[in-house]
Structures are given as C-alpha cells and as structure tokens.
Amino acid sequence: MTDLENAHPRASDGPDKRFLHQHLLGIEGLSAPDIELLIERAEAAVELSKTRDRKAAPLHGRTQINLFFEASTRTQASFEIAGKRLGADVLNMAVASSSVKKGETLIDTAMTLNAMHPDILVIRHPSAGAAALLSQKVGCSVVNAGDGAHEHPTQALLDALTIKRHKGKIGGLVVAICGDVLHSRVARSNIILLTKMGAKVRLVGPSTLIPESAQELGVEVFSDMRLGLSGADVVMMLRLQRERMNAAFVPSVREYYRHFGLDDRSMRYAASDALVMHPGPMNRGVEISSDVADGPQSVIEEQVEMGVAVRMAVMQAVLEASDTRSGEPR
C-alpha cells in the first residue's frame, strides 16, 4: 500500500527482521537487527518525504499525542510532521503550561489521555524513567522523545542514519562524542547504539562533564580534545547548557571554548573527511565555531531532515508491533 512497505525486508532476510517492540523507550533493549531495520525503513521514509504528493497514509485514522513536559520546539515539530506525513491525527499537549501546573501527576495526566484512546503517545519529560513509567500505565504505544539525562532514542537513530548515508556503514568508525556527556541523554543513546553497531566510541570533555565510570560503558575517555579527535571519522558535538557554564562544571565559556570548542584548529586533528554533527540547538562560539557548523563537513542540517524520516519509521514500526500483539491471544 505504501512506499514504506516496499522498503520492508523480504521474508528471506530472516525472522529477526520483524520489529516486535510496541514501545520505543530507549536504544537499550533494541538488538542490532532492530536498529538496522529501523534505519532501513527510515531510509525509505527519506524518499517519501521528498515526493511532492505524499498520499501514503499508513496511519490514517490513528491518533498521536505529543506529550511534552519540557519545551522543545524542534523535537516536537519533527514528531508532529512525521505523524502528519503518515496520515495520523496529531495532537500537541504543551503540558508545561497546563494541568501539571495544577498539581496533576504524570500518571494522572497519562490516565486521562489514555481514556481518550490514542494510538501513540510521544513523551518528553525532565525525569529519567518517565517514558518507561508511562508505558506501564497506558494501553497504547509510547515513544520516548527524551527522558531526563537517560535516553533520546530517535536522536541516536537519526544520527546513525545520517552517518550511514555518508560513510556507508557504522561498524568500525571512530566516533568522538564531545562536551557535556554527563547531562546528555543524546550521548547515552548514541553510546549504546554506536557500540552495539560496532563503532569505536570516544567521549571527549572536561572530566567534570564526563560521568563516573564511563569507561565501563565500552568507550574511551579523553580530557584532551586533540587526542580525543585524533583520526575520528565522526565528531558529534553536544550542547553545553547555560546553567552548566557558570563555574559549577566549567569555569567560563572562554576557557571551555579554548579547550573543548570545535573550530578549524581542533578539526585538524580529526580525519580529513570527518563528519561534524550536533543535535541542536547550537551555542555558536561555545561548543562550536560558526565556520565549522556551517562548513563543508557539517551534516547538522541533514540531521534535522533525517529526524522526520526516523520518527516516521519508528512510529509506524511500534504501531505495527502493537497491532500484531493486540491481534494475538493474550
């Protein structure tokens, strides 16, 4: 019925090639074939997004609620567009400005929404584990759009898709994730995904912003940008939140930029064809210079484009898994 279905793997690709998860709560819990499947389907969705007349509507008649407990223009817009391109009815709940302020708990909000029988809940919440908690309480599929400093799985998938389109592979690549790893859900999801897919992951940043025992996640840790970037195929910058800048974790923006900012000088240590990535929004002149952010090696805009495709693939996959499951005897 749709272009997306044409992208489905053939049965001869093996039994693993069916997506069986009715929620996407994190990259943790996905197998490498799960990840490959989502990336493949997202690649097909990229093409669909480019067609002028997007008639395909696999989610026609389904209801998607975006439940954002933290303001996020970019991610929310990306999920909204993804849902609409699939034909779903999309409702945005800006929870930060509604009933939660009146004292309603996460569970109460979820139960209220659940009573309206949505098919898919997309949740962003400042607390780690919130998406998992919600998934235990509602009857529909839950997609984690970021929970505290825990996971942001669709970001990691869109990063993987972007890398794969440029490098043709993920396994064997050296990926340097730089900056505030400690507070970053993007970094956690990427570490899990990239190591699972066989990439060599490095964390680069001041030790105050690298989590304790990070080495035990199967990564290498560097506090010297030059060593950390040396020969890297992908340089993934993280946003330094304003509230971290003022002397609690790093003393000042100028010192941070000098030691951990990505500019022409530090880029010279990476491989000559290294990709530059950033999950956005960028702090120009804090973690990245404009020259590099807008330069020929930057794929930052493409990441945004891939975001829509990945979210289309993810929502369709979890709904299919959910439909299959509900069709089965319990």
């Binding site: 001041p206 105050t208 002397a247 609690a248 974790f249 003393p251 000042s252 010192e255 000098r258």
Partner: protein, 450 residues
C-alpha cells in the same frame, strides 16, 4: 663591607661561563652529601657539578670564585608565601619579598593568590609576573585561586591561568566547605595536571578558637580550636583526591593526626603530598607565653608531641615540604589583644637559619632540609630548579653553617616585622644566593659578585 643585593634585571640569566669552587655540596637528589667540589655555570644553567669541577680543569674563559669550603645547596623553593601586592603594598611588595627571599637563600617563591584583587583571573597572573620581571631578584611563581574570590563556589579558569604561568592552585588561607565544589574543582584540576593545594580548617568546628585547644588555652582563657578542625576537612579532601585522581597538596598540616592521615593516603598510593611550616617544627603553643601575638599562627602552634611527630614525618618523607608560610602583617594588625590579632608571621629570611637549628640539634639532617626545601617542591611544581643537576637552572645558595647571627628586626628585608624569631640567635647563615647563574645576594658585599 655592606650587604649586596642585585638590581632587578628581569631575571635574565647570566651569560658566559662561571664557576664556584672549593665548596661542600649537598643535594640528596644527586647523591651529593658533603662532596668537596664546585659548580660550573654556562648561560644561567648548570653545566657540571661535583668533584670534577676544580681550579685545574676550568678554562681561562671561566670566571672562578673560591668558596673556601662553604656549604653549597640548591636554591630553596618556598611553596607558601603571602605577598600583598597588589592591594597591601605597605605590608609587602614583590620587590621586598624577593629581597627577603634572596637573603634567606630562597631562589623561587610561590606567591599565594590572596592579593587584592585576588589572583583568580589571567590578568592578575600576568600582573604578578610582569611586576616580578620589573622588580624581583628571585623567581616569583604565582599560584591561582581555586575559586573566584576564594568564595568556595565558582571555579576559576585553571587552563588559562596555567597557560599564563600559574604553578598551582590554592585557596590561600581558606578551606572550601562545599564537598561538591571540592570534588568538581579537583576533577577539573586533574585534567590540567595542576597541583591542588588546600589548607584544611573547618571554621564551624574551630568555633571562635584562636589557639590550640589544650590545658594551656584553658589556662589563658583563650578559646581553643581542636585538632579535629584540621583533620576533618583533610580526610574529606584525601577521599575526594582518590575519587578525582588529582595531585593533592595539603599545604600546611600541624598535628600528628593530620600527618597520620596523609601517611595512610600515601600508603594507598594516592598522588598526595603535604607541607609543614618551619614554625611548627621549631615552636609550640608554649611559646605563646603571655599572649604574644607574633606566635598567633594559622594553623595554631600545637603541642611538643605534635612537633616531634611532624619532624619525624619530614624525615620519613610523609611530609614532603617545609615552607615559610611568610605572612607579613603590620603592627596595626598584630599589636592587639590576642583574640583580635591577625594570624601569621614572616619567615622568608629566617627559613634556612631556623632549619639549620634543627640540623645542629640533630633533629633533622641537612639532606632532610634540602629535600624538603628544594628537591621535593621542584618535583611537585615541575620546575627546572631545586636540584644541582646538569641542565637545571643555576639556582643555588652558599651557606656558612656555623656563622652565628642574631635576628635584628630592623635589618630584615621584609616590610613587615612580625617574626617569631626576634632577637633569636641562630647558627648558620646564607652568605650568597645565585639565581640563573647571577649573584642576587651576598652577605659580604659586592666583591665576589659579577
């Protein structure tokens, strides 16, 4: 002959070759313990040292000075010196402190960051180095404040200040009480391999204490502070040093309990070092006598048992460094009732003489002194001085170990006169101090100076 001091020349090293011969050389880091020989200097650095340097094998281009058997040791490195420039030039300037240091055989002085404004910014490090180039005759090594304005909350720019020339971190006389800040600042300092100096003093536990808590404080009716006020933050720091893997330096410990805590940390293999002031090796709380405020120090003078434990810790190497803790204070801050007086005493000029008193009384050896006042500070601060090795800076002191002299406060070089050793007779005195191959101080006038 009058005492000679060089004029500041921006610490430009000497040019050409010169030699000091017929000396008795002590430097345990080089295995030299009373070796009769000389030192050959080339362009401000040591070219050769030891028995092979004597009058017969020196070329005619070498300017030679005969020391007549005097003792030659590496120039001392004082890891803790308060210099109130900028902000308190009436108490001390970089120029006056460097003259006092030179007269005491000290060739490198670590300047505490408690100037006004505090040395918590690159500009202040630059200023200290520029002022020392213009006015100092010894090396002045600025330290950087660990937190902004010593507030104990916000980290300063360690990377930028290190690049500007700061040699270590210090909170000067204060202790960071927020353990989270200590942990993060240690972790950040470790990235730059910067030595993390800290004094440990819990003001809450110390209460209003102004001296060691003991029967003496009870008798004097002065509020005492328990030894635990030093121990608790120290033990916290040692645990956090293990967590953060920073090179930690307990800048001045004063009790047997503190010394044991450092020893345990070292046994664990931590990169931990400790310092003690010369005052705490020579004096005890009994010296306070009738409320003598020049003996009001931070940390306070303790008991003789503590003093003896500290001495043996210096011998064993548990305590790495002996410092002067030079802290110039004017009479307006010292000639006050004991409780109101400011802590601290000057000590640059008497550091070595006081140390030699411990040598003459067999409490320490000269090798112990050289290790604690030159070799180990150089190693902790990664300096090219502090040892008599070929290639190192030609920084050394010539000492007459038996010359008797009396401390006359009017003749001290420091602008402040708050010494613990007023009118004390010492045996042993620095007779010449050389920085970068250039004589910057000579007790017997300019005759031998280039």
């Amino acid at each position: 002959m009058s005492i000679f001091f060089a004029t500041p020349n921006g610490l430009v090293p000497s040019s050409g070759r010169s030699a000091w011969i017929n000396a008795s050389i002590y430097d345990p880091s080089q295995g030299l313990s009373g070796v009769r020989g000389g030192i050959l200097i080339s362009d401000g650095r040591i070219e050769a040292i030891g028995a092979e340097v004597h009058s017969e094998n020196l070329g005619s281009d070498v300017e030679v000075r005969d020391l007549g058997g005097a003792v030659l040791i590496p120039g001392l490195i004082d890891m803790r010196c308060h210099i109130s420039e900028p902000g308190g030039e009436s108490r001390e300037t970089i120029a006056s402190a460097s003259r006092a240091a030179a007269a005491g055989g000290i060739t490198s002085v670590v300047m505490m960051p408690d100037t006004d404004p505090a040395m918590d910014d690159v500009a202040l490090i630059d200023l200290a180095l520029r002022t020392s180039r213009e006015t100092a005759i010894t090396r002045i090594l600025p330290s950087a404040a660990t937190t902004r304005n010593f507030g104990g909350r916000e980290m300063t720019e360690y990377g930028l200040m290190q690049a500007a020339g700061a040699v270590m971190l210090s909170q000067a006389g204060t202790t960071i009480m927020d353990a989270g800040v200590v942990r993060r600042s240690m972790t950040y300092a470790a990235d730059f391999d910067m030595l993390y100096g800290h004094v440990s003093h819990d003001p809450h536990l110390a209460g209003g204490g102004v001296m060691n808590e003991s029967v003496l404080s009870t008798r004097l009716g002065l509020p005492g502070m328990p030894r635990e006020a030093e121990l608790l933050p120290l033990e916290r720091d040692l645990r956090l040093a293990r967590l953060s893997k920073v090179r930690y330096h307990a800048e001045k410990i004063s009790t047997e309990m503190s010394e044991s805590a450092v020893a345990r940390a070292k046994d664990e293999g931590l990169a931990v070092s400790a310092g003690v002031t010369i005052n705490h090796l020579l004096l005890t709380e009994d010296d306070i006598g009738e409320y003598r405020t020049f003996f009001k120090l931070a940390p306070p003078l303790r008991s003789d048992e503590d003093r003896i434990a500290l001495l043996s810790a210096v011998k064993s190497g548990t305590i790495d460094v002996i410092c002067s803790a030079h802290n110039p204070q004017g009479v307006d801050r010292k000639r006050l009732p004991f409780e109101e007086a400011t802590d601290g005493a000057i000590g640059l000029e008497t550091l070595l003489a006081a140390g030699l008193e411990l040598v003459h009384s067999d409490q320490l050896s000269l090798d112990d002194l050289v290790r604690a006042m030159a070799n180990r500070p150089a190693k902790l601060l990664k300096l090219e001085s502090g040892r008599l090795a070929p290639g190192a800076n030609a920084d050394f002191a010539v000492v007459d170990p038996d010359l008797k002299w009396t401390v006359n406060v009017g003749q001290l070089q420091s602008k402040s006169k708050n010494t613990c050793f007023e009118d004390r007779e010492f045996r042993g005195r620095v007779i010449e101090t050389v920085v970068g191959g250039r004589t910057v101080f000579s007790l017997h006038g300019n005759a031998s100076a280039a």
